[in-house]
Symmetry: C4
Subunit: 268 residues, 4 copies
């Protein structure tokens, strides 16, 4: 029973007790290893528990390496898996420790260590069975073209407003260059408002007010796009509850229809 | 007439003059005691009116204790009430003063004093008759799975962006650890933008801009979820009130129609 | 032709050339007087043009006084006008200058001077003919009960979160009292994020993150309420385009109806 | 084949290989010249690559001048093009370099240099074939009257709140004049929250809390307006595609139906 095919089912699917157990154990391992990586970045904790973190990290890497080898061995399409998005993420999740043996440069090391946190992306793979994920994903995908266009318009406003503020306020008030002014315009238009750069001249404050009111009005646009897309999608799912015609098997007989609108036969 | 059953009705229900009066008196007591607890936390007011606050606090505690004993005595399911959420809140609302007699540690005392403010939760119990609360509550409950998934996706973005900013900006610009970087990413993505930590390097400001625009685009998602849920809720309740014509089976006879508007036959 | 009745029409209505001209002149006067009051508050401008501002202010007050006397004289219901909301605003708009003759206290004077800006409220009176104002006003009024309940829930969250942060961070990190902590919680939950008070302890930053994500999720609620209310309102206005039955004058015959659903007579 | 008419087609239209190629080359030129102008504003880059930037700028100006002359020569309505919005933008995009030969004043020069960035507006012209742009543009145009009214109401709130905060907090806490107070009110109401000016008195913080909660509640209004407008736009386009049955006048025959689902008669 524990042949290669059964093993592949446990590793790749998620529809019976063993395969679901595998997913849950994997989920716990991923979340634990991410937690350890996060805590390891805190100076005070690292000084105290650095050795423990290192041992845990080695253990996690060993287990994930085992899992990666298992996946490569079990899959029928090795090349496709290795070059797929999640295949690359699986590989990147185990590389850091191995790379750290060969690298001495501390700055590069910190980048490599950070790579470990990419493991969190693997959790998304486990979410592929959720209908809610499909709903949100589909709504966003259908809105993508509109949101892209919207973001482009926002960038145009940001460029123009950033330039205007650069000319008005100038380097002496913190708007040192157009890129910095654009950064300020994004901070303002998205209503984040850090306050690290703020207008000081009356005219600058006047222009900033206009940008803020503009941001207030256009924040409605992405919301409107996604909401109307979701509302539409709800209506579509309503059609999924329809019956089929017993004569021609047309699949959209609504409540209260007397005749099939494809073949004209009476609906019981 | 003022037997135990009548008293229980007054305390637990809210459908006649006496029981409603009981609720209103209780509401005023709760709000007053919360106000006193809030004012008591202001140093300058406490120095002036500390004694008055203490006397008021003792009075409130005495009245709430009386009410708690009354509830335990009157209810038919004592154990269920005592262990219920609101039963525990009712108990926690009177404990602070009694506990403060035995505790000398000042820091623990301030935590105990803060517990008094939990009384505000009791107000929610009085709001259980509002239809509006049901509407908002139901819409949020129906959206819960989607909002949970959304928050999880947001946390993944926060983790990745926090790590990226930790690597780019580093401890010398305030991003002292990954948890702190994640705190900054949440502050930025939710458009709060305190400004206690801000990116200083050009590349850090560029990445921050992307996070802000991302936050601007995905703020649409929870809004879209709740809005389309509310809109659906409205529509369903409209269609549920429609009947069908018994003669031609036209399926949109509205309340108060005398004749079918398709075939003209009388509606029963 | 320029009798009292005609004059009352010009002053109170807005449906022919003269009465509309009166409204426009009034609008310009109000906006000019408000602009002067705003500029008068700027120290540097006041030092330069203080005398000019004072003369203009006297002129505006004279004109508005004339208008107020005219309104009191022309209206048929003097008492009702004087005690109405807009009647009081009209009076408050002219009082400041007269009061300033009798008041020597500078602080009280600055409050009185500020009262002049209430004149802007008078502009709203001129907007009473706009259909758009009705649409937004009606949508908000219909949502009022739900938004009130929502604001109350927000205040409960603010109270609990403010207390929690007061206990965690304490006076040494700027959370000097529960009211100040609640002010911070509102600043955070509404995503304003001034940054005048920010959490410094890791646990405080963790709790703040939860508040921010909460604010991010519940910002959807008021939007959902108003949007679904507006969408419903659109549908209602669709019914306004319906025809009337020629037989029983029932006023909701829809496109495509064969028979009146009230009296059963055939629709032409 | 390369006569004037063909050339005009290539320059002004975008429906075959050559004309589309012209648009793409133009798009790349515009984006490159904007990028150079942005980088040129960064002090450190300018010191290093100033000469390269100047040569590139001259090249771009030469090409855009060529294009402008081409457009003026090719169009059949020269006057209309030159005085149109995009005609003026095209002209403003090439003027800066020519003007900079005659201007010595450095401050005026920086304004002139900034004008180059207006070129980005030209990109919008290339987006005129996008259906998504129409959808967003139409929704915003249809909402314009309501959004204008909304912004006016917001300005009234801003004026009143700004005045109130000016009176409460006064110049000693940063609210130096009513215009500055109004700037603060906009920063707060739009939830930007820079934190450059913040209330310090308890009463000021209380009023600020009210403004923030107000902003939280009314941010729903523009979102509601645009969303319901977009949802309507979707619904109308759906209902417009429905036909009526010629036999029983049932009014919801969808595209592709063969038989009426009410009476079973064939649809033509």
């Amino acid at each position: 029973m524990w042949n290669k095919k059964r093993l592949a089912h446990i590793v790749f699917d998620s529809d019976d007790r063993e395969s679901r157990l595998f997913d849950i154990v994997l989920l716990i391992l991923i979340l634990s290893s991410v937690t350890v990586a996060i805590l390891d970045s805190v100076q005070s904790l690292r000084e105290k528990y650095g050795d423990l973190f290192y041992i845990l990290e080695l253990t996690f890497t060993f287990l994930f390496t085992l899992e990666y080898i298992l996946r490569v061995w079990l899959t029928s399409k090795t090349f496709k898996y290795v070059t797929s998005f999640f295949g690359l993420v699986d590989l990147l999740a185990i590389l850091p420790v191995y790379l750290s043996f060969f690298v001495a440069n501390t700055q590069l090391l910190s980048v490599i260590r950070a790579l470990r946190l990419l493991r969190i992306v693997r959790v998304l793979k486990l979410g592929r069975y959720l209908a809610e994920a499909d709903f949100i994903g589909d709504s966003l995908k259908a809105s993508a073209a509109k949101i892209q266009l919207f973001l482009f318009s926002v960038l145009t406003i940001v460029l123009i407003m950033g330039t205007v503020m650069f000319v008005i306020e100038g380097p002496e008030h913190g708007f040192t260059s157009i890129p910095v002014s654009m950064y300020w315009a994004i901070v303002t238009l998205t209503t984040v408002g850090f306050g690290d750069i703020t207008p000081s001249t009356p005219f600058g404050q006047f222009m900033a007010s206009i940008i803020m009111l503009l941001g207030y009005a256009i924040i409605a646009v992405p919301t409107g796009i996604v909401t109307s897309e979701m509302a539409k999608r709800k209506k579509v799912s309503h059609y999924e509850s329809l019956k089929s015609c017993t004569h021609c098997s047309f699949d959209a007989i609504e409540e209260g229809d007397n005749f099939c609108r494809k073949c004209g036969s009476r609906v019981d």
